[in-house]
């Protein structure tokens, strides 16, 4: 196989992996903002059927939002 083709194949494989542009789409950026300013709605956007988030990401964002909400409530209660 030619060197150019092998190099091209490698870059194709790299493109199939998750890229920065995949995790910073316009819709996702809005979801990140909602997660900070209104976590329940942010979580709704993450879990909605039309969401761009992949299955593993849905799991992690759910955990993050729960932790954020618990900490927020704790901070409100304890001052």
């Amino acid at each position: 196989m030619s060197l150019t083709k092998r190099g091209g194949d490698l870059n194709m494989k790299e493109k199939q992996e998750l890229q920065v542009t995949d995790v910073f789409t316009k819709s996702r950026i809005f979801t990140y903002l909602w997660i900070v300013f209104c976590p329940p709605y942010g979580l709704y956007r993450v879990l909605s059927p039309s969401s761009e988030f992949r299955r593993p990401e849905k799991w992690v964002w759910t955990m993050i939002v729960i932790c954020t909400l618990v900490t927020f409530v704790k901070l409100i209660i304890t001052g």
Binding site: K13, E17, P56, W59, M63, C67
Partner: protein, 436 residues
């Protein structure tokens, strides 16, 4: 000779890129990137906007803007919920990414991986009480295990648990067969019961036997004998320069160097950044110079190889119309640290003349930035801004609003410009010779 070298490089890069564990780690860190960026920006906002501590520079301390202090719990909570659970996130993400590679998408898999990781942790934490006395608390999970300090062990535990679990499930020997009358979701719970149990027990047993044999927990041993030495190498100046050099060498062969080496350096530099971020939030001295944002700010600014310097050099000194046309096209992309139009357009890839400054520039820039940080002119990196943030603004944000950092970043691009000039002049001569 050249072909042999190229073949070797491509084979090594190909092996690294397609290796399932490294691919899972890379994807997991990519998924984690927005979480880290949100966490670090929340630290910045809670310190620079909402901090009401008297004498502290913050918008909330300006008369009439004190209401901003009321927003502090929101940013503090978001910061706590993100930065303190990175290790947990990485365990879950790696397990699911690797599981998908094996075709196993059980909901139990991330929970089993998490259980296996937690089984390696200890449940006591020590700290100082308000009166200064040493206190030991039992039945708690210290945040050492959930924040960036636990990344390395989390990665190992998650990979080990997933490998064991997937093999056991795929073997099918531990399945409990239920009658047809049992609903399929109930039957599935029994199918994965023994693989889940055995996976967690094996990891836990390894941890227990290790502790009995050495008197040291597996978590502490991995941290002390693998994570610390690797961290000392990569966050040291020579180690970092070597890493930058390898990355750019791969780029010059047409391989995305950052993607290939990321799985190795990301956990280490991220842990160093998390230490900085925690110190910034606590108002204590920032410990590390080299961290993830340092790389974005001073080694890959305007793109790998600091090609912003090349664009300026081409615009001022190149006599080649083709170079000038590509430089004009690449300029808007370079403002957002994207350099593919240049690397593949000029090209820099497989171009011996431009490959040399492409490899030298990031090392020169990193050396200068390291020296500036060491003497205190450039602030240490405490915020992880998105890598597409324009030069100058990026260093300003990443350093928590330090003007010296922004100036250093601009000087780094100018240094790269100086490095590229002779090679642009050589390419002019090359063009003349070709035409003759």
């Amino acid at each position: 000779m050249k072909d042999k070298l190229m073949n070797g490089m491509l084979s090594a890069a190909g092996a690294m890129q397609t290796q399932r564990h490294l691919a899972a780690i890379k994807n997991a860190f990519m998924s984690l990137l927005p979480i880290i960026i949100i966490g670090s920006f929340c630290t910045l906002f809670s310190n620079v906007i909402c901090n009401t501590t008297p004498g502290f520079f913050s918008l909330a301390n300006i008369p009439g803007l004190s209401f901003l202090g009321k927003l502090n719990p929101m940013f503090t909570a978001a910061n706590y919920g993100t930065m303190n659970f990175i290790a947990i996130g990485i365990v879950v993400l790696i397990a699911m990414e690797l599981g998908e590679h094996y075709g196993i998408t059980d909901k139990a898999l991330p929970i089993v991986a998490l259980g296996a990781y937690i089984s390696l942790c200890t449940f006591t934490a020590s700290g100082k009480a308000a009166d200064g006395t040493e206190v030991v608390v039992t039945n708690v999970l210290s945040r050492v295990y959930t924040n960036a300090q636990g990344l390395f062990v989390g990665m190992f535990a998650s990979i080990a648990a997933t490998e064991i679990y997937c093999r056991l499930v795929k073997s099918g020997k531990l399945e409990i067969h239920m009658p047809d009358s049992v609903p399929s979701n109930v039957a599935r719970s029994f199918t994965i019961l023994f693989p889940s149990l055995i996976t967690v027990v094996i990891i836990s047993a390894v941890g227990m036997i290790f502790e009995m044999a050495t008197g040291m927990t597996l978590f502490n041993a991995i941290t002390a004998f693998i994570q610390k030495p690797l961290s000392n190498i990569l966050t040291s100046f020579p180690g970092y320069i070597t890493l930058v050099f390898i990355t750019t060498v791969l780029w010059t062969f047409g391989i995305h160097g950052t993607q290939v080496t990321k799985a190795v350096y990301e956990p280490i530099l991220l842990a160093a950044f998390a230490e900085n971020e925690a110190a910034y939030a606590a108002g204590t001295a920032i410990p590390n110079i080299i961290s993830t944002p340092f790389m974005s700010c001073f080694s890959t600014v305007t793109g790998a190889g600091i090609t912003g310097g090349l664009i300026i050099a081409i615009m001022l000194f190149s006599k080649r119309d083709d170079y000038k046309a590509i430089a004009k096209l690449a300029l808007p992309c370079a403002l957002f640290n994207i350099n593919e139009p240049l690397t593949f357009g000029l090209p820099i890839v497989m171009n011996p003349v431009l490959a040399i400054p492409f490899m030298i520039s990031p090392a020169v820039s990193a050396t200068f930035a390291y020296a500036m940080t060491k003497i205190g002119f450039c602030g240490r990196m405490v915020v992880n801004a998105p890598w597409t943030t324009p030069p100058g603004l990026m260093a300003f944000l990443c350093s928590g609003g330090n003007i010296g950092a922004a100036v250093t970043q601009i000087i780094c691009i100018l240094l790269a410009f100086v490095v590229y000039i002779p090679f642009v002049l050589i390419s002019n001569k090359q063009q003349v010779l070709t035409e003759e």
